[in-house]
């Protein structure tokens, strides 16, 4: 069990620990986790797809050895799926069963008033913890030793869902009308929200979060990332392929290759036992880094120039 407080004591130690978990991060990212931990604030992570937004949350969970609770957001996601739901099947079943034993329950009570007061003695069992089906958000709040809560692609959800998040994010509590307010346990969860910016997140939500923007890494950082993720790849080739990817990102593409693509490509090249880039090899493996046919067609003519640029030094 790693000592969470010790890991999070400084940005440097966070960075080091991330690296041992093969997540190479910039100062900015480590600072975000540092602040999130000490200020107990959620982090909203934005950036182009494939720069490691989700990975950051996962790695953090791994590093602190906390359970990761993940909620994938999508259009139409509502509280029943995100927060809690009554086990209505169970409730129905129990009412059916109880119907038959109603007499016993009422113990021969006479009259309406008496019956009702008998029933009251039972309290609201049907709407108690027994029948509550916790969904990810509630689960995260009730996790004893704290946890990492990841709300993935929060921009895909609706405005209503965002509003639902507000209470949780600012006070780490939710109100369930039938039960009352559920507060987080001693250790409130470490919350990460990711967004691909398909739409603007509302100001109210942003205000409650730290905002981390992860851009594409520079060449050095990306090389280190590749080194951490695909350590077997020879340094020369690593440098070449990262340079190549960076050249690609300069082009006018429908979807520019992200870090995840660079990693995939590195693995591919490793599998093919390549030790340096050449145009033929690049052409054959281009579909690993470019995901649209028209991008591939567009780049095809420039492969030779790009490769020679990447292999030049």
């Amino acid at each position: 069990m790693p000592d969470i407080a010790e890991i999070a004591a400084s940005v440097d130690s966070l960075k080091r620990n991330f690296e041992t978990h093969r997540y190479i991060c910039s100062n900015q990212i480590a600072t975000a986790v540092y602040l999130a931990f000490h200020l107990r604030k959620p982090v909203l992570i934005e950036g182009p797809p494939g720069v490691g937004k989700t990975e950051l949350a996962k790695t953090t969970a791994e590093m602190f050895d906390l359970p990761l609770i993940r909620l994938q957001c999508y259009e139409g996601l509502d509280e029943a799926k995100a927060l809690y739901e009554w086990k209505y099947g169970k409730q129905l079943l129990y009412t059916q069963v109880l119907k038959e034993t109603l007499d016993e329950v009422l113990q021969g009570a006479k009259g309406f008033r008496e019956s009702v007061s008998r029933l009251h003695e039972f309290g609201d069992i049907f709407f108690s913890e027994e029948f509550l089906e916790p969904r990810p958000l509630l689960k995260a709040l009730r996790e004893e030793g704290g946890c990492v809560l990841l709300l993935d692609e929060v921009d895909k959800s609706d405005h209503e869902f965002e509003s639902l998040l507000l209470e949780i994010l600012s006070d780490f509590q939710v109100s369930i009308p039938e039960i009352g307010t559920v507060k987080a346990t001693r250790e409130p969860p470490l919350v990460f929200l990711t967004s691909n910016n398909t739409r603007e997140i509302s100001d109210a939500l942003k205000r409650r979060c730290l905002h981390l923007y992860i851009p594409f890494p520079d060449i050095d950082l990306e090389q280190r990332i590749i080194h951490a993720r695909v350590p077997e790849i020879p340094p020369e080739l690593r440098k070449q392929l990262v340079t190549f990817i960076h050249e690609l990102r300069e082009l006018d593409l429908k979807k520019v290759p992200a870090i995840s693509e660079t990693i995939d490509w590195a693995r591919t090249l490793l599998l093919l036992h390549a030790d340096r880039l050449d145009p033929e090899l690049v052409r054959d493996t281009l579909n690993v880094i470019l995901k649209f046919q028209e991008d591939i067609v567009n780049v095809d003519s420039e492969i030779t120039t790009l490769t020679s640029k990447a292999t030049k030094n």
Binding site: Q28, T31, L35, E75, A80, L210, Y213
Partner: protein, 493 residues
Amino acid sequence: MDRVLSNFIRALRNAEVRVSTAETLDAFNAVELVGYRDRAFLKDVLSLVLPKTADEKDTYADCFDNFFAFQELRGAEGKRGDAESGDDEGEAGDGEGEGNEASEATEGRGGGKGKGKSKSKRKAAEEPEEDLGPGDMAEATSALGKLLMAGAKSELAMEMSKAGTAVNVQEIQVFTQKGLYTRRVMEAMGLADLQQEINGLRQHRDVPHRRLGQELTRRREWLREQVRDYVEQQFLLHADATGRRLREELLRKVKLSNIEHRNFRLIQEVVFRMAKKLVALHSRRKKVFKRGALNVQRTLRHNMAYDGSIFDLHWKSVKIDRPKVFAICDVSGSVANYARFMLMFLYSLEEVMPKVRSFAFSSDLAEVTELFERNKLEDAIAKVLRDYSGGSTDYGQAFVDFKKTCLDEVDNRTTIIILGDARNNYGEPRTEILKEMYDRCKRLIWLNPESRSTWNVGDAEMRRYSAYCHQTEECNSLMHLERIVGNLLRTVT
């Protein structure tokens, strides 16, 4: 030090980074946690707390560098002030030599610390310093002179801000006013008296008096720099945004064809903000329309109380039909600029109107939707204007082309917006196609950048076309655009 942070936040707000009170509190908490020791670290930390979009982060980075660079400069300045005589004497070496080495040494150290760490700088500034060494210097008589000679930094700073308030330095609007305000603040602090005293002293017979005169001159220059810095800071805090807001206000009203190229970036921001407002307004309105499949689980749950008889129905919320908009833009020379802004506006509304298809023509019409999908907004617009704006306007031909390409896709949920001046160069107007479009679509709106009175003058065909429009509008400024698009959203959603 909290003052520094809140001033910084004000500067940020002026630079159009929206910082709420809650975020300000967060910033204070964060700073309390990390302290001011490490500048780069502080920058990282605040960049997580204060700016909340990628754009704002850029602005923030600039703002941070400006603001805190300036603070540093001031620290250095303070140091020079503290160890002033030492430095100046050392470099000039003109044998005035009233050597207060002792104070020079200590102050030098104090100043050095202040430079690295802005926190101690203030402290250094408050420390009383500068005993005048061997006392062969006369006493200053004017109020300002006394303060200067006493080196009473905090009093001077207070005087400075008092003077600043007196001359309304917060009303500074453009940077050319900096000099003016510097002088005014100096005057309000009693420059005239000081000047007189200096003049008097300079011509005095006694050496100590002359010496004092020189000293005062030097200190006056130092003060001037302090005041300049102060004004500069006030400018950063107050002016930038006011000037900008003024310009934006103007831009909203000015005719779009008159907007200069250098303002495009600014206007784009205005457009985005207007669009954002509309988005916020209309995405909320959606709820009313929500009806769809039955949400079985929820319905059952809510009807348990009624013994399973289902009469309180709950629906799965479904996306409502979003408006389909076809924008047909005349991009010939006369109307190109209007087309630019309308396209900008429509595409900024992507969130509530994801299905905008756009067409551009001057003589031949082509669909340009894909250009907008592939490129950044500005690039796409530039490309459209480059590729389609040649050729003389021919509305008839454009309609024929439109009919060929996609009239079939126009249905009763479609809104067609035509932007153009209807100046057809006396060509065949082909109103029958427009009629066909009119019949098929939900709404056909014609936006004409010219003023109504000239709609039918010369080769303009507006009279004939307007018969087949649900709505014709004059549209030549951002305000018009906003109103029209707002109405559009109201009617189509």
